[in-house]
């Protein structure tokens, strides 16, 4: 009689059991499946019931309206759009307007937030008081109120187009917005862009090389003269060789408004200003908390190595603080994006205004449109979270945590 080694348990089945059932084993899995089935059934009932009732009440349903003509105009469009385009295009126009105000707002909010946080932490009494006052005032006032304040303040401070403020005769500020010359591509555009692109790639490669040299061989390489040459010298040389990449179309006052040139509308300025200053107050507190979470011994160690305060912050403290900062920072980015939906109060044509507002009331298809709007905000938020998670993971990894 030979003794056989006991067969090892089937790993896959075990894994499934553990993942789905937790401690309760196969029973747990059955319960989970039943629960999922009930949820699915309820969802199906809701959808089919709503559809039947919409039909009974003769309320239009479905997504066929996306192909219909919208028939109204939008003030700021990043892609070409006229009133005879479809509702689907309105959706894209609104989405892009939301995205552009969110991205610009996030960039400004982050920069301003870091600056304010460093002010608050500064040993300089005046700077730290200014930072404190900024945070306490801005974060304690309702955002909608701030948006309206900036909008009306911006409008009230600016003259009408006929008396607009001229900046060197090429750009004009009035209560219709900032009009700047519009670049128009010329023959030299393609080589110019090609060279510029090459310059950027080369600079990035140079930076990676310099860092590696520093970390692996302890060798400091001065790269900024090369950077200047690649980013400015090379494109300039190309310009001299093949001609101007673009010329500018100057704005001119015609009738009520400026014709020609590109325009930044005051609604965009007011909304970006309000969103970024508001969110910056919260970001400042998050950054301050993050920096304070780094033991003060790190600061002292930096000082004892002869590093300046700024260098110590940049090289030693901030990288460690980022671990604490990133997760709540993500929340603030999400808040800023969602808060951009307050735009409708000042007539900025964001997704909520042109899609969940105008289009909803023109078509009356509330369920479809609100579902699409919610879906888009969810998607934007999940994408932002994902990007920030990857960044947070990289920060942790680089610290060996």
């Amino acid at each position: 009689m030979s003794t056989e080694a006991r067969k090892p348990p089937a790993q896959i089945a075990l894994k499934i059991r553990r993942v789905l059932g937790g401690k309760t084993g196969w029973n747990g899995i059955v319960v989970q499946f039943v629960f999922a089935a009930i949820l699915g059934w309820i969802g199906y009932e809701i959808v089919s019931n709503a559809r039947a009732n919409l039909e009974n009440q003769h309320i239009a349903a479905g997504f066929g309206f996306l192909r219909n003509n919208a028939g109204f105009d939008v003030n700021q469009t990043l892609i070409s759009y006229t009133g005879s385009d479809t509702f689907l295009r309105v959706f894209v126009v609104g989405l892009l307007n939301t995205l552009v105000v969110s991205v610009v707002g996030i960039v400004f909010a982050t920069v301003l937030g870091f600056v304010v946080a460093l002010c608050r932490l500064s040993p300089n009494w005046l700077l730290s008081r200014i930072g404190e006052i900024y945070v306490e005032i801005i974060r304690n006032l309702p955002l909608l109120f701030q948006i309206l304040f900036w909008y009306l303040a911006v409008l009230a401070a600016l003259p009408n187009p006929r008396q607009s403020i001229s900046l060197l005769g090429i750009a004009f500020i009035s209560n219709r917005g900032l009009v700047i010359p519009q670049p128009i591509g010329q023959a030299g555009l393609d080589p110019f862009l090609l060279v510029l692109g090459f310059g950027i790639v080369a600079v990035l490669a140079l930076r990676i090389y310099a860092r590696r040299a520093l970390f692996q061989r302890g060798q400091m390489i001065r790269i900024w003269p090369y950077v200047l040459g690649l980013l400015f010298g090379l494109p300039l040389a190309t310009m001299l060789l093949v001609g101007l990449p673009f010329t500018f179309e100057l704005p001119q006052l015609k009738g009520f408004n400026f014709a020609g040139g590109s325009r930044i509308i005051p609604e965009f300025v007011a909304l970006t200003l309000a969103l970024s200053t508001y969110t910056a107050a919260f970001i400042a507190e998050i950054v301050r908390a993050g920096i304070l979470s780094v033991h003060k011994g790190q600061m002292e160690a930096g000082a004892s190595l002869g590093l300046s305060r700024g260098t110590t912050l940049r090289l030693i403290v901030v990288p460690q603080a980022m671990r604490v900062i990133v997760p709540p920072l993500t929340n603030q980015y999400l808040n800023l994006t969602k808060n951009s939906s307050l735009a409708v109060a000042i007539g900025y044509p964001d997704l909520v205004s042109v899609w969940a507002g105008t289009s909803l009331s023109q078509t009356g298809q509330a369920i479809e449109i609100i579902a699409m709007t919610m879906g888009v905000y969810l998607l934007i938020s999940l994408l932002t979270s994902a990007i920030m998670s990857v960044y947070g993971w990289r920060v942790s990894r680089s610290l060996g945590a």
Binding site: I59, G83, L155, V344, G347, T358, L360, S361
Partner: protein, 338 residues
């Protein structure tokens, strides 16, 4: 704004999934003891609250007339302010029983919203208001102008049509509420404010210096304004429709809030039919025989309602024009009560 829409949409989705359309609006209103009436967020002459919170206006009086016909008490109305873009959702979801909110009757609204227009309370048309200092005398001189408009209105689409048809460029800035639109116009964000012409006159009163602004002569659209009810309840549709007709009929017959009791005693066959001493039209509607008397006592006839709210007896001072009776050169016409 967004939250209101969202809440209403959820209510709509919930209401639709819970049960089929409730076809018993009259019974629901009676059980509740109060009529739920969707109005604007404040448009003088049509529906706006005064400093004590009492609602006044033509659209408000329509709801008071319906409440009077049902309860014999014009105060049994709950006014629900709705924005231009939330109004239809509020009606669809059952939040309100009738939408009486300067709403333009169009085919798409009549056929795709699950709601019906019951008649026309005010024949309006879209116009433009500008500052006098711009020295503009016609809408055709508005090329390249910036235009402030309230979002979710037929106005927005008419505007696009008009400028396109006349080959003019413009910039549109759309706001969520009427007040925000007017504020931006006053702050100089735009050269032109556009809405229904009655609304222009009403909003001009809200401006700091009404005399610095003028309404341009062009009327660029037809805007028949009227109340809406949900599809699928014909009895309720009839009640709202015939309340409007009762207002017009009484003006035609010279019945006013002051002389209605005397008129009810007169031996005129038409007066007897209308005022309920002959026939039982009120009961056929699901109301009482004296329904017209109740309405007229509460709000007066259409002429009185018009004069008090937007006409000669109001700060707006709008002429009757198209809203005069059919036999006085206007369009207001009611089918006979017989």
């Amino acid at each position: 704004m967004k939250r209101v829409t969202l809440a209403l949409t959820l209510a709509l989705a919930a209401g639709l999934t819970a049960q089929a359309a409730d076809a018993q609006t009259l019974k629901t209103v009676k059980d509740r003891g109060v009529l739920s009436c969707g109005v604007s967020q404040g448009l003088p002459g049509f529906s706006s609250p005064d400093d004590k919170g009492n609602w006044t206006g033509i659209d408000v009086d329509v709801c008071r007339a319906i409440a009077a016909a049902i309860f014999n008490d014009p105060t049994k109305v709950k006014f629900v302010p709705t924005s231009a873009k939330d109004r239809f959702t509020a009606l669809q979801s059952g939040e309100i029983d009738v939408l009486s909110r300067n709403t333009t009757w169009t085919i798409s609204r009549d056929t795709s919203l699950g709601a019906n227009f019951t008649g026309v309370t005010y024949y309006d048309g879209q116009g433009f208001m500008v500052k006098k200092s711009l020295k503009v005398n016609s809408a055709l001189e508005l090329n390249s102008a910036s235009v402030c408009v309230q979002t979710g209105t037929t106005t927005e689409q008419n505007l696009a049509d008009y400028f396109k048809a006349n080959n003019m460029k413009y910039e549109v800035i759309a706001f969520g509420t009427n007040d925000e639109t007017v504020k931006a116009y006053e702050a100089g964000r735009c050269d032109v404010f556009t809405t229904d012409q009655s609304g222009l006159y009403a909003n001009r009163l809200k401006l700091a210096n009404p005399n610095d602004h003028m309404v341009l002569p062009e009327i660029i659209s037809k805007e028949p304004l009227g109340p809406m009810v949900r599809h699928g309840d014909d009895q309720w549709f009839d009640i709202v429709k015939w309340t409007l007709f009762a207002l017009v009929t009484t003006e035609e017959l010279g019945i006013t809030s002051k002389n209605v009791d005397e008129k009810a005693k007169m031996e005129n066959p038409e007066l007897k039919r209308v005022l309920g001493s002959d026939g039982n039209f009120g009961e056929q509607l699901g109301l009482t025989k004296d329904w017209v008397i109740r309405i007229v006592k509460a709000t007066g006839n259409y002429g009185e309602v018009f004069d008090r709210n937007v006409g000669a007896g109001s700060p707006l001072g709008i002429a009757r024009g198209l809203n005069n009776l059919w036999n006085k050169g206007g369009l207001q016409y009611a089918p006979p009560i017989r």
